[in-house]
């Protein structure tokens, strides 16, 4: 056990810190609005120019070959410097690990560099009007077009984050209607400018156009739009959802920064706040630390080749509920000012977003089932 960072890790941290402190933009509008998204793209592209967009990727694809520990360090520094949530996250954090694992060399070369450069912008096509938590219940279909050497996709995806601003969608489609639910699904990569695609943005809880529904009407995609094997999309998708639940999507850095802001708010605003609120603030800070050390523990295990798997559900429940508590306690400190919003950095705006955490990436009810069944081994039925 050695809980200090190596000189190389410290040097990496220093390099991250100095670049980020000099370059992180402040006061960007919401990335979930059309204008805001454009402003965020500029930031994402400057990250890429300086090779900070995808530090854990191989250099050939625009990364720095950073170790998982270095990636965590980058994330800590990114949020410490006040960096905004990444509008490219669904591509770089969710699709990319799946492309590295299942993609052909040609797919990797075609997809990853443009993703890293924020040229192609990817959204996730999982949910459908009648398939949310029950993802295997999707009805959108893929029909084989043998003569054109490809597939025709039809159906509707919805609650697609930033779908109205993205250029591409990755998603699951039913390619064999006769097969059992989890079989007969195929994972497709779909350009949103293909004929037959209609995208309609709609408002989230906070009113920003961060959601979209995507209608597909006989949309043709060639064979190389399939990621992994035909009819085996469920297994491919599970790799993505595991990344989403786990630490790639929401690393501890974000919550350490959030807890730090909460402590700052306490200092500025505690006034006559009672001891209960002080205890809550302290507990949030401890929980952020707990997530940090649990992550170092997990990453050390991964480094020696241990499989983490279903344990990512523990992480997802923990960070999403911690995020809600941090914001609830901040709003309690703000009292009547808690209502005030309109500013991307306001606690109320953050609260509205935090409330989506226990819902997206598989509701926390589903995650608790996964923990009970696959971590603790309780009977499924």
């Amino acid at each position: 056990m050695d809980l200090t960072f190596t000189p190389e890790e410290e040097a990496f941290r220093a390099e991250c810190r100095s670049w980020l402190e000099a370059n992180v933009p402040h006061g960007l509008p919401s990335g979930d609005t059309r204008d805001g998204f454009a402003a965020h793209l500029e930031w994402e592209r400057s990250l890429f120019e300086a090779r900070w967009a995808v530090v854990s990727w191989p250099e050939a694809y625009g990364g720095r070959d950073a170790s998982p520990m270095e990636w965590l360090i980058f994330e800590e520094e990114y949020y410490r410097a006040g960096g905004p949530q990444r509008v490219t996250q669904n591509g770089i954090f969710l699709l990319a690990p799946t492309v590295f694992e299942f993609g052909t060399p040609a797919q990797r070369d075609r997809i990853l560099p443009r993703m890293a450069a924020a040229e192609d912008l990817w959204c996730q096509g999982w949910s459908e009007p009648n398939a949310g938590s029950d993802l295997a219940g999707i009805q959108s279909r893929a029909e084989r077009d043998e003569s054109a050497r490809g597939w025709r996709l039809s159906g509707q995806k919805t609650w697609t984050t930033r779908g109205a601003f993205c250029t591409h969608l990755f998603g699951l489609f039913r390619s064999d209607p006769a097969a059992e639910r989890h079989r007969g699904l195929t994972y497709f990569l779909v350009p949103l400018d293909a004929p037959g695609v209609t995208v309609r943005g709609f408002g989230r809880l906070d009113g920003d156009e961060g959601f979209a529904e995507v209608f597909l009407d006989e949309v043709f995609v060639p064979d190389d739009a399939v990621l992994g094997a035909v009819h085996e999309g469920w297994g491919v998708a599970m790799a993505t959802t595991s990344a989403e639940r786990g630490l790639t999507l929401r690393s501890p850095g974000r919550f350490l920064a959030g807890a730090g802001r909460l402590v700052d708010l306490w200092r500025a605003r505690s006034g006559d706040a009672g001891p209960d609120l002080a205890d809550s603030v302290v507990q949030d800070w401890i929980d952020a630390e707990a997530y940090r050390w649990q992550t170092f523990w997990t990453v050390t295990r991964m480094t020696v080749g241990e499989n983490v798997g279903a344990e990512s559900s523990l992480t997802k429940v923990f960070w999403s509920e911690l995020d809600v508590r941090i914001h609830e306690h901040a709003l309690a400190l703000l009292g009547p000012d808690g209502e005030l919003t309109g500013d991307e950095a306001s606690w109320m705006k953050g609260y509205e977003f935090a409330l989506s955490g226990p819902i997206y990436a598989g509701t926390n009810e589903i995650q608790r089932n996964v923990i009970a069944e696959r971590v603790l081994g309780l009977p499924r039925r």
Binding site: M1, D2, L3, T4, F5, T6, E9, M69, V263, W266, R267, S270, A278, D279, V281, V282, Q283, W285, I286, D287, E289, A290, Y291, W293, Q294, F296, W297, V299, T300, R301, V304, E311, L314, V317, F318, E365, Q367, R368, N369, I371, A372, E373, V375, L376, G377, L378, P379, R380, R381
Partner: protein, 318 residues
Amino acid sequence: MRFAFTDEQLAFRDAVRELLDRECPPSVVRQAWTSPSGRALDVWAHLTEMGVLAALAPEAAGGLGLTLVDLVLVLEETGYVALPDPIVEHAAVAVPLLASRGEPIGAGTVTAGWEPDARAVWADTADLLALGDDRRWRVVATGDLRLEPRTSVDGARRLFAFDPRSADGPALVDEQAFDRGVVGFAAQLVGLTRRMLDLTVGYVTERRQFGVPVGSFQAVKHHLADARLALEFARPLVYRAAWSLAEGDPDASVHASMAKLQASSAAHRTGRAALQCHGAIGYSFEYDLHLFLKRAWALAASWGDARWHGARVRRAIL
């Protein structure tokens, strides 16, 4: 950054685990509720033989020259079985104190008390009592103290109150002694959490109602998922605090307090879930769950309760 135990540390843990599995089943803990000593003296003898009790003393003083990082997993295992012996007090708190003043580590038992508690467990079978606060400690013969029995909710904890002012002896400065105890008890609380969770997972898998195992119901699953979550986000803070103490990190006290807070909370939450998911059987004295539940309550409340450790963390960060 390498946050993992070495193979040697894991092997040490496994050796003790095997011993405790064999020698300290719940029947032994139950016996301690009514036996004259209130202890598992056979287990204590084995632990002495294995060198566990003097592990933190230098080799020259008859110890193993190990650190709290080597011992923390072992202490966790003693929590898992609710060992009725003062191993944290002896091995984690007192042995380094005695070693620092060049005293031989004898075969007897040393218990320890944190002054504000003004109590010590199993003091009647201990030869010495180490007594102190955050900083100043003294080691006195238990025979020189007037020990007044107190009844703990955990009948296996033979508890005694005494007047700290009557405990006279040369003072030693050990700024870590208290925190070694705090982390040791936090480790035991992690072990207790694991035990209560294991016991409950086993029970709800076997117990059938409405024709199915009760563990297949979501309401039960979610209680136990919450317990598993509490365990997951307590354990790393305990190991990290052990490392901070071993390395003399200037913030080690705060880390120790965070560890005990998180481990106490995990044990409390898991205890509630365990009791609820067992139903009436868990509420029965003949069933073993209460042996672990009550130990958890007692350890969470002593050596600084949640309010005390919360205040210490608060002073550091707010």
